[in-house]
Every structure is written in C-alpha cells, then in structure tokens.
Symmetry: C2
Subunit: 387 residues, 2 copies
Amino acid sequence: MRNFNFDTATRILFGKGKVNEMTPEILASGSRILLAYGGGSIKKIGLYDKVVELLNANDIFFVELSGIQPNPRISSVREGVELCRKHKLDFILAVGGGSVLDCCKAIAAGVPYQGDPWDFMMMKATVQEPLPIGTILTLAATGSEMNGNAVISNEETLEKRAMGSQLLRPVFSVLDPTYTFTVDKWNTAAGVTDIMSHIFELYFTPEKGTHVQDMLAEGLLKTCIHYGPILLEQPNNYEARANIMWASTLALNGLLAAGKIPGDWATHGIEHELSAIYDITHGAGLAIVHPAWMEYVLDENNAWKFAQLARNVWGVKDEVDMSAARKGIAAVKQFFSSLGMPVSLKEADIDDLHLTEMGKKACLFGSIGLMKKLNPEDVTAILTSAI
Amino acid sequence: MRNFNFDTATRILFGKGKVNEMTPEILASGSRILLAYGGGSIKKIGLYDKVVELLNANDIFFVELSGIQPNPRISSVREGVELCRKHKLDFILAVGGGSVLDCCKAIAAGVPYQGDPWDFMMMKATVQEPLPIGTILTLAATGSEMNGNAVISNEETLEKRAMGSQLLRPVFSVLDPTYTFTVDKWNTAAGVTDIMSHIFELYFTPEKGTHVQDMLAEGLLKTCIHYGPILLEQPNNYEARANIMWASTLALNGLLAAGKIPGDWATHGIEHELSAIYDITHGAGLAIVHPAWMEYVLDENNAWKFAQLARNVWGVKDEVDMSAARKGIAAVKQFFSSLGMPVSLKEADIDDLHLTEMGKKACLFGSIGLMKKLNPEDVTAILTSAI
C-alpha cells in the first residue's frame, strides 16, 4: 500500500429534507451568493422555490446563474466569474448534477484569477484561494459533490478537459435522494455507468496488495449492479436512489484512491474526446469506451486483476485468469447494454470520421493510462474496436 | 437508508515515515503538549526518540505522561488532567494503542471540566471545549484514531465504561504500519478480533436497505480474514500490517454507521464487564462473547442478516437462512479460535462466579442491544452459554 494523506473537507447532509439544514453551512462561509443551476428541472421538482425560500428567510443576498448545460461550457464559467466579480459574491451554491457542480468549481477558481479560466484546463494556471462552494445534488453520477475535480468543455475548440484542486472540494453537499426521483431512465442509467466507470478507473491500477481498496471498490460495484436495474423499473424507490447516490459519492471522494496509484483514467480521457465532438451523454460514452478499453489493455501480466473483478463481482467461476477476465469484461458490457446504454459507436450514432483526431487529442499532454500506457494510435485502435 | 451527516475531522497521515509530517499538524493546534504513552514499547522501537527529536527540533514544549495501561484507568486520566492544568498544556499527543488514545481523550475532556472525569463515563457530564488531540498509532484494533470514542476503567469500582463526543476526534493521526511490526501474536490476533467485532456491531442492526454499508462492512471483514492468519506467521509483512491498520480505522470512523442505526453494541457492553473484573485483553473477551451473542440473538426474524454474512463473507452455500446463519456463526467462532483467541470463558481461565453481577452491571442504564433487547438475565444467559 502506498503512503497517503486522507481527509474529507466536505460535510455531507444526506437524506430526505436535509436541505433545511443548509443555511447555517452557507452562513459559516459567505453571505452573498451565486445561485447556479441548469435548466428548469429544479423548478419542476420544487427545489428552486425551496432554495429561494430558505435564502430569503435568512436574508441571504443572491444572484442567479441559470442555463448551465450538460458537458458544461467555458462560456458559462466566464459568465459566472463576471457575475461574482460584478456583485462581489463570496459563496457559490451549485444546485444540479455534476455539470452544474463542475461549472461552479471552475467559476470559484476563476474569480480570483486574472487570466482566462480555460487556463486551468490547459494546465497553465493553478487554483489559488477559490470561492467556497456548497452543493445540492440532483443527479447521482459524477461524485463531484465530495471532491475537487471539474470537467469543462470548450465549445469553440471542441475540447473537454479536467481540472482539479483539493481547494475546490465543496464545504457542504446536500444529498437528498428524492431530488433524483424524476431523473429519466436514460440519465439514471448513464449515472450508474459513470459511477461504475469511476470505480473501474480507480480499481484497475498495476499494483498488488491494495486489499482494502479492492474490497471497498467491489462492494460499491455490487451496489450499482444490484440497484441499477431496479431504478429503471422503480424510479421512486427511495432505498435504491439512496444507495446509488451514496455509492456515487463514495466512489470518487478519495476513499478508493487512498493508498493506491490514483487511477488509470485513460477511459475518461478517451470519452472526453467523444463527448467534446459529439456532445454525447458522458455515461453513455463511458459505456462504449470502458469495455473496449478493458479488452484492449488485457494481457498476461494484468489478467489477474480483471479475473479478480470477474470472480468477486460477477461471480465468474473460471479458475484460469485470462478466460475469467474475458468473461468478466463481457459481463460489464452486457450489464451496460442491459441498462439501455450504447456499447458501440454505431449504437450511439457516432461515425468513424474523427477517430484519428480523437487519438491525438486524448494524448495532447503525452501518453495516457497506467494498466497500459496508451499513445494516440492505441486510443484510435480502442475507438476503432468499438465501432 | 436513514438520514445522516458525514464528515471526518481527523487528517490521516498513513504510511512508513509519515511521523515526519506531524509537527506542522501539531503547531496548527497547540504549542505546549502532553506527550502520553504506555509502557516501554515505543522506546524499544525507537519511536519515543523520534518523537522527542521532532518536538525538540521544532522547539515544542512538552510534558510526559507514561505508564498508561491496557484497559486504561481513570487514575491515569486524573493524573493527565492535573499535568495539563499545572503546565498549562494546550495539546495532547497520544502515542500508543487504543488504550493510550482513549485515556488521552478522557484527559482532553477532563481538563476544562470542573468535576471528576469519571462523570463522563456515568453520563453525568457532556464534553465541552476539550483540548485538541493528535495520535501516533502503534496497534491496529480500536479505531480510536479516527473517532471521538473512549473506554475507561475504574479500578476502584471494577467498572469499564464508554464516553463519546464528536469534539474528541483527533485532529490528526499518524498511521505507520511499521510501528506494529513488533506487536506479538496475541495482541495482533486480539486486534484483528476487535476490528471484526466493531464491524459486526455496526453490521447487525434490525433494518434492511443499507446495501452500501453492508458491502463495505463485508469487504473490510474479508480483509481481516485474509490478512489475520498471514500476520501471525509474518509479523513484518508490510502489506498485511498496512491493510489491517487501514481496515481498523475505516471500521469505526463513521463510514459503516452513516445511514444506519449506529450499531448493536451489546457485545461490547458485555465484554466491558468481563474485562472490568478479569482484566482480560479486550479482543480476547470479544472472541468469547461475540459468537455467544450471535447464537443467542439469532431468530427467525433476523436470520436473513446472519445468513447474508455467512454467504457473502464465509462463502456458505446453504440456501436456507437459518441453517446458513448457524454455519456462518460457527465460521466466526472457528476463525477467532484459529487466531489463538479463547472462544469460551474456560479457555480464558475465567470462572462463573460473577455472571449474574455482570448481567446487572451491563444493563446499568437499561436494556442493551438492538438485534434483540437484552436485560440482565439475557446477558447472564449469554455468558453462561460461553462457559
């Protein structure tokens, strides 16, 4: 096991009605807030009214930033930064899914930064003294509610890139599973896929001896596999929504990475190229890329780990590592497909015109991945195998 | 899943040599410290010299409190409180196992409290503005390094009781697995038993739908079952020590309890009566009581949960809940025995003279336990079944 530091900056308020405990958490960090959200979904479920009522009841000044889109755009970040500066805001309340949260993190970093916020994505700037953030989550998927990561798209350059800083971890996050009752089948399935993909990224590292981390990861995967199909049939099942929501948070809050190499992340890198060009739902892109990545990187040296997944999570009985590994990968692909996710580019109506370009862009800062170091040709080969 | 709040106040510094990162953490909270430890073991492994060197190199004033014993005594707590007051100390550094850590928590609570610190154990006082604590752990067992709990013995009244407050969570804990290399077989096995017992206490609650928590608990149990026997043969196996140490911390840092009824805890209550009178190693007492408790509380209503443990952790194939449950309980008992732990009172040279008295004392504040509410007669019956 590797040396590590572990702490969690974010206070989680989990459960039905927990939004009512939010205002003291806000007031501990700020008094003039940016209220940021996406489309109208938070209005439909009554959450917008509830938040405004709580802010008004506590005389908290707020300015709104709405219309933040899935695969959040750098233009929204710039707009948020301007609003914060203009109104001298000192706290950001992000209400929505991972896209809203990620956008708000980039805004928080951008406010005190004199350059363009896209610089963070291009590794030209580091985060310093960002505004504090609180979140109210409405989609279980990205884990953004308890970590310092953000992924932002540049609609001009068709790029989608990540930034991260421990300073960007929210000070609190309200996780109320009832806010996810109205998430449709497609986005629910994409969310479950995203959660599982995060766990895979952290699970598949070329090291041995991380038993605790492996057991926790396998446990969270089993929760996803158990409740994913239930949610497609019973969207208002509180138990299922709650378990998926908490699994989502724990999948990417540092727990599974502590003591390990912090993940492979090639699949996410490749998927970012897909959704940057085709604006596909992130989870759907992952459902296409992750099984293809697994098949491509599997070799004699790492088959033991894929076989461990197959046996412990999918109940594969095969004692030969390589064939057990292949059965496990097939099970992953089959599961994503059973959730209604595409598992090939064709199923997502994605053509083969940009495969070489995506390979190059995915490796802009050098080779990616750890289980196998991938160069642009490898990435193109993985995408080609997923046609 | 129940509503919950989750945060972790303790910063974990995990791994070989991590003590070198300790002094900034101390200086963030205090400058005049109580250096508390037990017997000579920290001197034998060179840790005492290392700590003193670090404190001196940073001009940190310190006063020593040594000789804190296993099943730490209220007299040590009183001595520590006096030292802190006399020297105007503002931080406590606990170096040792759970006993030292627990003693230091009681001291931290006792310093600003005007009454006798035993009042905390008797529920006559609540913790307010305790001194901050940091810890360097030398035994993987109690989980005290990342929670606000403490268990203290009163040598005059032969009582052993718990106290707890979120305010008592250490501000940092150094977890260096190499400090546990010299822990002998007996205490290593007792530590593994204690960890598993904590997980059982949290796992066995009369509620359904806590899938995430169950999966995490089962995962940590599997880590204990995997590495426990290895450690008895290879005490210097870093991977095994590290996994057990991290499992120990995660078992009782709030993660497994979040979203659940926070545990049954009858077994710990009963064991405290055993070790209060007979001064038996806590883990050894748990190895006797926990299987006996399982056999006693098992019934038609809760067999499903014992069966779940049997199937998921011990690989029991039986499809009938009640018989699967019994096989799982037998596996727990057999495992503790294989570690060299006693699984009956006789094996621990404990007579049957105090079984009724222990039943009464365990229920001093009313019935205990959740899977089955236990009155004094039940406790006596459980102990009798363990003769």
